[in-house]
């Protein structure tokens, strides 16, 4: 079985480059030997069965895994010419340039206004805060619902609105990349649709990397798709994830080069 498929990349700017990345929890390898060049200004989707390490890789891209005790990464993750895991790199600075939207909506227990302003302030924003709050909420397509209750708690919004508030919060710090970890998994179809529209809007200004369990969503929003799978290893206790194939979404869903990809996207497993 071929482990990785060096994707034939069209001539594009590379935003983030993963070079032989292996992420382990303690001694257990969650995902190994990932090579990929994520293009700039596009939406890249990570798909694959549960436990294949796609979320782990995503969280490795802005060093969120640092917060998990025992989690370590080997290899290089190059962003803007530097390896973000180099010893002299401050993870806080990495996260200020690479924002994140989480699986469960997690607005801060503050007002809607403060939810947006908080991130901007700690990033040293010197401009007009009211204007930034409005612009961010508009970009996240949640301004109309929020404009009359900016002083109310972010927790008073519905689940879908909370998630768009979290997207607005991520946008407000004007990161270069936005990572989204199954942003719609807790939402109803209508909220999901709104967030997907938001993503189409956002990719004009940002590089978006999204993990999703919903293959239709990948087809709808992603320009590029990476398929991850997991396999049992000899002598190991669990399964280890690996990147099967990374190509244009079109190709992954219509003419994948790997049989495993073909099986997964057509719904035939195992």
């Amino acid at each position: 079985m071929t482990l990785t498929n060096p994707a034939p990349m069209p001539a594009q700017d590379v935003c983030m480059s993963l070079q032989d990345v292996t992420i382990s929890y303690g001694k257990f390898e969650a995902v190994k030997n990932v090579f990929m060049d994520i293009p700039k200004g596009q939406v890249t989707a990570f798909i694959g069965p549960s436990g294949c390490g796609k979320s782990t890789v995503l969280r490795g891209l802005n060093r969120m895994n640092d917060l998990i005790p025992g989690c370590s990464l080997r290899g290089r993750v190059v962003f803007d010419g530097t390896d973000i895991y180099a010893p002299n790199v401050d993870p806080v600075e990495v996260r200020r340039r690479i924002g994140m939207v989480f699986q469960k909506p997690n607005p801060f227990p503050k007002t809607i206004y403060e939810n947006i302003a908080f991130g901007a302030r700690i990033n040293g924003y010197k401009g007009d805060m009211d204007e930034l709050v409005e612009r961010s909420l508009r970009k996240a397509a949640v301004w109309d619902e929020c404009k009359d209750k900016l002083k109310e708690s972010g927790l008073a919004l519905s689940g879908g609105q909370q998630q768009r508030l979290c997207i607005a919060r991520a946008i407000a710090t004007e990161p270069e990349v936005i990572l989204m970890d199954e942003p719609c998994s807790a939402l109803d179809p209508i909220s999901t649709l709104k967030i997907e529209e938001t993503m189409h809007e956002l990719k004009r200004s940002y590089t978006i990397i999204i993990v999703t369990h919903n293959m239709q969503q990948a087809v709808r929003v992603a320009d590029m798709t990476a398929f991850y799978n997991a396999e049992a290893v000899e002598g190991g206790t669990g399964k280890v994830g690996y990147l099967v194939e990374f190509a244009e979404t079109e190709r992954i869903f219509n003419a994948p080069s790997q049989q495993a990809t073909q099986d997964y996207v057509t719904g035939r497993f195992g």
């Binding site: 969120m64 917060l67 005790p69 200020r96 700690i122 990033n123």
Partner: protein, 322 residues
């Protein structure tokens, strides 16, 4: 997939308890009544204590009225009593000890819950705080008399010589007094504040923490701007409980506060609290002095009750939905 083409056979007779027998329903009712009876024991005991204390205090309430709270005479010979010194001492010692213990306790809780230090150190710290709660207060009182007070005396002397011109430090420290009582109270309420703050911080959802780091906060930023505000209601509740505890604390305070009924604004002078006054005088009191002590006890109960109600109110006010 099943290949059997015949419809699945219902087998209802195999389940014998689809209808519950009357005896089982009776057990349900009985259990409910039993729970009610057990729960009402607490209410009856509380009410009983209140009634006894109130009845005992009636004579003193009739004799001294509200001036009991504002006067400070405690004169068994002339049968004239006022609890001002004790009430003042109760409030001052408990509030000042809170002022010291809250930053210490919340700080310790942050240290235990955040991964600033290795897990071993954090666990050891948590364990030590819990062990602190297990020390009997009479032991702490002994320690305060023989170890703590002589040790901090030079510091108190220094306070007097530097700040002796303020009313708070204008007496020479001579041993037992308000200041060592406040410090021993800090030791006694620290575990409660730490334990409740630790639980509150642990209950802050992990997603919130990650969200804070996700927008690029530093550890400080995450703790002070997101995690502490999210936990503030429970922490406040714990602080209020600690205040109640500090107001009612008896043994250690009695041993170190000096039990003087002469009013002094100085923290270095001996003083009194309601609890220590009760503990000291019940043995030899009779007549209206008993009633006066009951009156003081009633005031203490009302104070702690108010604090507890206030705590509940604050927790409800500040609590957040997730």
């Amino acid at each position: 997939m099943t290949t059997d083409s015949s419809p699945p056979q219902l087998n209802a007779d195999a389940f014998t308890l689809r209808r519950r027998p009357p005896s089982e329903k009776l057990v349900d009712t009985g259990f409910r009544q039993l729970s009610l009876a057990l729960a009402s024991v607490v209410a009856v005991v509380l009410l009983g204590i209140f009634l006894v204390v109130f009845t005992g205090a009636r004579e003193a309430i009739a004799t001294f009225g509200l001036s009991f709270i504002t006067t400070s005479a405690w004169d068994p010979v002339n049968e004239s009593y006022g609890a001002f010194v004790a009430i003042y001492g109760t409030l001052v010692t408990s509030l000042l000890s809170l002022l010291i213990a809250v930053p210490l306790g919340v700080g310790t809780a942050i240290l235990i819950t955040e991964d600033v230090l290795p897990k071993l150190v954090r666990d050891a710290t948590g364990l030590m705080v819990e062990l602190l709660a297990a020390i009997p207060s009479v032991v702490l009182g002994l320690w305060a008399i023989f170890v703590m007070e002589p040790t901090i005396r030079p510091a108190l002397d220094l306070l007097h010589s530097l700040l002796g011109w303020t009313p708070l430090f204008n007496t020479i420290p001579k041993g037992p007094g308000m200041a060592p009582a406040i410090l021993i109270l800090v030791v006694m309420i620290l575990p409660i504040i730490t334990a409740i703050s630790r639980d509150a911080l642990n209950q802050v959802p992990e997603e919130l923490r990650q969200g804070a780091y996700g927008v690029g906060t530093t550890r400080w930023g995450a703790i002070f701007s997101v995690i502490l505000p999210a936990a503030v209601s429970a922490i406040t509740g714990g602080v209020m409980l600690a205040l109640g505890r500090a107001m009612g604390e008896t043994m250690a305070v009695t041993m170190i506060i000096g039990n003087s009924n002469n009013f002094s604004t100085s923290l270095l002078a001996p003083g009194n609290t309601i609890a220590s006054m009760l503990a000291n005088q019940f043995g030899e009191a009779d007549g209206i002095q008993v009633s006066a002590l009951m009156y003081a006890a009633l005031i203490l109960m009302v104070l702690t009750l108010v604090v507890n109600i206030f705590a509940k109110w604050i927790v409800r006010r500040l609590s957040l939905r997730y």
